[in-house]
Symmetry: C2
Subunit: 184 residues, 2 copies
């Protein structure tokens, strides 16, 4: 039986241990399709996904991404798939947004679309982790990513070896949500 | 029968026409709970939600938010509820993130949590619209939002009067996703 949205959200964990088992390409495509349909500022769709599922290339990318001061995210080396989340910035929405509103809307948009990917992966039994701490410069160079794309985040993707039983602690609703008046 | 994630994602539209019908508080709380469980950089949970559902206050806020050059989002005046999406920035993750990685992770995080809210609202039959174009300064002043919070976006929330039959056009999968090599 299909999972409800609440079940997907409650069940999702950031997964940091993966089985070597490869991930079916159809599942990755289903996650990308969920991301593709996300909303964005002025419908600009700034997101670009670079899926690294070739085992040799994946080994090279993860070596570049998660060495030295970036070793804290070294768990991602184990994941059979990495997905690089990039932004294409030549959009009116983003230039105007930063100038006038002070907000880089493309980051909100990548958060939205990226999370569609993550929720769909969870529904398909895959584990993911949003990673922001990696050697972007080395990865760009290795993969020859053109300057017009900003490399914002990496997802590790694979079948979880072990699932944390509990979510990391969350703030209570009273700490993060108020009605009609700021309460803090 | 509960909707699947795919159905929720495919059905969601940015709603710009609302019925005057008020929104049940339990539904807003369910959306907030979905947002509360979102992942974030270093589990920093920078999101804060200020729900404006008092009709008089809502009228004042929307007048401030959507006048003058911001009238292009005036449709939101009709919505019975506005939700202000704010970020609390005094977190290691955000200071380090901007300095070292060049990314304002709190914007990714607000995109993620905000979209949990939006997807849950869709499941509950509510319409929403992500709005980034509003007079943040005037809204801050009216609501006396402390400086420690950054006002990033507003959701309009309500029962749709009319649902666009089609989604706005999306790029094809080939335009936004590649395997092992950038194709553009």
């Amino acid at each position: 039986m299909a999972m409800t949205l609440d079940e997907i959200i409650q069940r999702r964990r950031s997964i940091r241990r993966y089985l070597p088992q490869p991930v079916e390409k159809e599942k990755i495509l289903a996650c990308l399709e969920a991301a593709r349909l996300a909303p964005s500022a002025e419908n600009s769709q700034p997101w670009r996904f670079l899926v690294i599922d070739d085992p040799e290339l994946k080994a090279k990318v993860s070596e570049k991404a998660f060495s030295g001061i970036y070793s804290t995210c070294r768990f991602a080396v184990q994941a059979p798939v990495l997905v690089l989340l990039m932004a294409k910035l030549d959009f009116l929405a983003n230039r105007l947004g930063r100038l006038v509103q002070g907000t880089q809307f493309y980051l909100l948009d990548l958060g939205i679309a990226g999370e569609h990917f993550v929720l769909k992966a969870e529904e398909l039994g895959l584990g993911t982790c949003w990673i922001g701490w990696f050697n972007a410069r080395a990865v760009r160079k290795l993969l020859r990513i053109p300057k017009k794309y900003r490399l914002v985040a990496i997802f590790s993707v694979g079948y979880p070896e072990k699932r944390p039983t509990q979510k990391q602690v969350r703030k209570s609703l009273e700490e993060i949500a108020w009605f009609n008046q700021v309460r803090d």
